[in-house]
Point group: D2
Chain length 289, copies 4
C-alpha cells in the first residue's frame, strides 16, 4: 500500500499482561484512525503471561496529530495495563558515545552514522583519553575529554550527567569505555545505556575476558551487547555473536578477531534500539528483527 | 493464559492482498469465537502488496467446531481474497519418505520422528534401492522397494502415486532420493514435496554439486531444502546452511561435512512445514520461525 | 604420490620442548625409512616453548615393521624429550559408549559408525537406563544395563572398570551420560574419556544448563565436547559450537536446538580423537583438523 | 624460543611437485643457517601431487644476509622445481586501493591499517568518484581522482598503471571499485589484485547480486574476496562468509547486512595476503591461517 508523502511513520512499542482482545483492540484503534500498518510483530511469554508488540504504521497528521494519538490511545493503554512507547520516525533521538582509547567501535559507529545506517543525532562524544579527538573532529561531533581517576570519579560523573541532560540525551553508547559507571549514573538512564562486553556472556565476566578465554582454551570467542544495569555485566543481553579460534590464534589473534565481533554486536544493538525494536523485561530482551 | 485441557489448538495460515483492516477483521473474528491467541506472526511484502499471517490459537470445540469455524470464516476470507489453510494440531499429516542408498537423512528423520520432534504419521518409505529396509523395519515404517529404470519410470511413478493416494499422503520428503520426478508427479503435490539439494543453491545446481564446489575452490559448502517444482533445483527455498571448508578438506571431507548440513536443513524444513510455518509465493517462502 | 597397496598408514603424534632441529630430525628419520608423508601439521606454543606435530605417512612394512619403527624412533624421542604416540590405522581402537535416557547422541554415533565415519570397534554400550537397548540391538553392539544409585555407585563403577579392562577399551564416550564419574574412575582413563556438555563452557557449568541459558536470556546457545578430568566441566575443551535463539524459542526450543549441537560437537570430537588429531596440554587441546 | 632483537623474521612460501625428501631438505637447510622456525604449515594436494608450505622463521642477519639466503636456497629450489617467494617482514609491501562511491570497505581498511592490523605501506587511493577524498585526506593517503568513461577507459588504465609502477605497488585492492579492469591490466598484476564480490560466488556472478539474491529468495547472503583474473568473478576464491536473512529483510536489508560481510571478507583476504599466507594454483587458493 503506497503512502502519500505527507503521511508520517510512527512505531508503537508496548507490553502488557496477556489476555484476550489485545490484538483486536489495537487493530481496531489503528483502523479507526485510518492508519496503515507497515509491520507488526508480537510475542507472548507464556510462563509470565505477558504480551509484547511492535507496530510500525503511517498515518495522516492532518487527520490525527501525535497529541491526538496519545490522548486517544491512553484510555485503551490504561484498560490493558500497557507499558507503551510511541515514536515518530521524523524525531531523531539524541545519542552520546563514551569511549576510552580503543577506537574500533567508535570508528565503526561514526562511519555507520554517516552512511545513514543509524537514525539518530550524534550529539557528543565523551572520552577519558584524548585518542578519539581526531575521529570526533573528522566527523564533526563535539568532543569532551573528561579523564577519570578514583578520586575525581564522582565529580566527573556529575559533569557527564550535566552534559547528557544539557543535550537531552536519549541513549548512551559505551563503545569500549573502560570505566565502570556508578549505580546512580546507571539508574538515571534505565534501558538507555548500551555496553559491549568482549566475551560471550555469561562466560568471562569482569576484566580481561580475552585473556581468560585464551587461558581456558575455548574454541569460539564471543562478544555481547547489553543494557547496563547496576550489576556489572549482568544487564539484559541484546545481541551476541561468536567466531571460531584455534591453537593458531594466540592472545593477540583473539583480540583482533574479537574487535570485529565487538563492532558487529554493538552496532546491531544500537540500530535495533534506535529502530525501536527492543523491549526489555525480567532482565531479558525481546528483539523484533 | 492457561488453557483448559478440553481446548483444541489450531493454526490458521493465510495470505491475501494487503489492505487496511485485515488484522482487525481476523482479530475480531477470533475474539468473537472466544479463541485464545498463542502465537501470531505476520509479514507484508510491500513490493507486491501482499499480507501473510500465521496465527496459533486454542478454542473450545464445544462452543465452536472445526466445521463451524470454516463455515463462519469463509465469508471473511472471501471478502479479503484470502488463500487460507486451517490446521488442527490433533490431526497428524501423513508423510512419505523417498530414499535411495544414502541413508543419513532418512536415519535422522526417523530418529527425530521417534523422539517426537516431527508431528506427523510416517506412513511409508519408498525406495529405489534395498539399503533402507533395515532402518524402516527397525522403526516399523512400511517399506516399498520400487527400483526405477529409464524404461520403467512412468509405470513406477504411477505406482508411487497410487501409494501416495492410497495412504492419503500430505507431504513427500525426498531424503536424498536420486531420481528426478516427472513434471506430472510434481504437479500432483504442489508445495507438498520437500527436497534437499547438497549445495548452497543457486550455486552448483544439477548433479555432483560437491565435486563442482571442490573444483571451484569455495571456502564454505552448503545445503538447501526447497519445495520441488517442475524446474529442477529452482523451487522455493525453505532453508539453507553452510559450513567452512579449507584445503584440508578433500572431496571426501566435503561430502562428510555436507551430510551434516543436509540433515539439518532437511529436518528443519520438514518440521516447519508440519508446524504450518511456511507460506510460499512468487517462488519464495515466508517462514515464521 | 600413489602408494602401493601393501603399504601401511601410520600417524605419529607428539609434543616436546621447542628447540632447533626437531623438524629436521623427524623428517630425516622418516626419509631414511623411505616413508611417504601424506599430511603433516605442526604447532608451536611460544609462551610455553612447546612443539607439537602430527604426521601421517605410509611405509612398506616389509622394510620397516612397527616394532622396528618404535625401536629406532625411541632414541630420537629421548633426545628431544618427546611425548609420542604412534598409531597404525589398520588397528582400530576399542570404544565404549556410556548413555542414560537421552538417545540422540547415541543414535547419531551409531549411525556414523555404521556409515564408516568413525574408525573404531564399538565394543560395548553401558547404560544406567534401559531405553538404549533397542538401538544397541539394532546396531548389534553388546549392551550392559548398570543402574546407579548413590549407594551402589562404587560397586557399579568397579563393574564398569572391569568391563572396560576386559574389552581393552581405548576411549570412553559419555553420550549424555547423566552420572558424574568418580575421580578414581577418571584417573584410570586420562585424556580418554570424552564428554558432551550442553552449554558453551565455561558458561553454565553444572546441571540444567539450558534452563540457566533460558533464564539469562542469551542470544546464542552452545554445546561443548571435552576430555573429562576430575574437575567437573573443567577438562580440556575439544570442540564447541553455537546456534542462534530468540524470544520465539521457549525452553523446549532451546533443548531441541541444543540436541543438534550436542550431536555435532560430540561426533567431531570422537572423530578427531580416533584420527589422532588431538594433543592435550595445560588443560587445552591442540586440534589438527 | 626467544629471539634476540637483532634477528630478522622472514617468511618462505613455496609450492612444488610432491616427492619424498622435501620437508627434510628445507628443514636441514634452515637448520644449517641456524634459523629459528616460528611457524610452519604445509599442505599436499594428492590429486595433483603438489606440495605447499609456508615457513616463518627468524635468523641472524649478521650470519646470513637476505642475499646469502637467496643465493644458497636457489640450487635447492631448482632441484625440487619450487615456485618460491621469500619475504622479510621488515619490508612493507606497497598497496593501492581502488574505490568508487561505496566507502564502507575503504573506511574499514583505512581504520585497520591505522590500527596496525595491515602490515603495508598504503601508497595511494585511486577513485573514479570524488566521494572518498575526505577519508583519504583524514588518513593522509595520496588520492587520485580518475573518472572513467567508456571512451576514456584505455587512457585512464594507462595512467593507473603508470601510478602503480611509479609507486612500485605490490598489491591492488578493489574496495567496491565499480569498473571492470581490462585483461591487459589484470595480466600486469597476476595474483596481486584482490576484489570483493558481494555474493557467495559462484552464485550471483555479475552485476546487482543482492537484487538477484533477493529475487531468488535465498536464506543466507554472502560475500567473496578473490584474486582478479581476466575472467570476471572467476578468479581464485580467498575467503567467503555468509549471514542469515529472512522475509523481514527487504532488498535494503540485504545490502546493509552485506556491507558487513564485504568488509570482513575483504580485510581478511588483504591481511592474509600481506602476511604471506596465500598460495594460489589451479584457480584455487591454499590459505595457511
Amino acid at each position: 500500500m503506497p503512502q502519500t508523502p505527507t503521511h508520517k511513520t510512527a512505531i508503537l512499542l508496548l507490553n502488557c499482561p496477556d489476555r484476550k482482545g489485545i490484538v483486536a483492540a489495537i487493530a481496531n484503534f489503528l483502523l479507526q484512525l485510518d492508519a496503515n500498518i507497515l509491520h507488526a510483530d508480537q510475542h507472548q511469554d507464556r510462563d509470565l503471561s505477558l504480551f509484547f508488540t511492535r507496530i510500525e504504521f503511517t498515518l495522516d497528521p492532518t487527520r490525527c496529530s501525535e497529541d491526538h494519538f496519545r490522548a486517544t490511545f491512553a484510555p485503551l493503554a490504561l484498560q490493558f495495563h500497557m507499558n507503551w512507547h510511541l515514536h515518530y520516525t521524523d524525531t531523531r533521538p539524541n545519542v552520546a558515545i563514551f569511549v576510552s582509547s580503543y577506537l574500533h567501535c567508535l570508528a565503526d559507529l561514526l562511519h555507520r552514522h554517516q552512511s545513514g545506517e543509524l537514525p539518530c543525532n550524534l550529539a557528543l562524544i565523551v572520552a577519558n583519553h584524548p585518542d578519539a579527538q581526531p575521529l570526533a573532529d573528522f566527523y564533526r561531533i563535539p568532543f569532551h575529554l573528561l579523564p577519570v581517576t578514583a578520586d575525581t570519579k564522582p565529580q566527573i560523573e556529575a559533569r557527564q550527567l550535566d552534559l547528557l541532560q544539557h543535550h537531552a540525551i536519549d541513549l548512551v553508547i559505551l563503545a569500549r569505555y573502560m570505566q565502570v559507571l556508578s549505580p546512580d549514573f546507571v539508574r538515571a538512564y534505565p534501558q538507555r545505556i548500551i555496553n559491549v562486553h568482549h566475551s560471550f556472556l555469561p562466560a568471562f565476566t569482569g576484566a580481561r575476558p580475552y585473556h581468560a578465554a585464551f587461558a581456558r582454551g575455548v574454541k569460539l570467542i564471543g562478544a555481547t551487547s547489553h543494557y547496563v544495569t547496576a550489576d556489572l555485566d549482568e544487564g539484559p543481553i541484546i545481541e551476541q555473536d561468536v567466531t571460531r579460534v584455534s591453537q593458531n590464534d594466540q592472545l593477540a589473534g583473539l583480540i583482533q578477531k574479537g574487535r570485529d565481533l565487538e563492532r558487529l554486536v554493538l552496532s546491531r544493538a544500537v540500530r535495533w534500539h534506535l529502530n525501536q525494536r527492543i523491549l526489555s523485561y525480567a532482565n531479558k530482551t525481546v528483539v523484533f528483527t
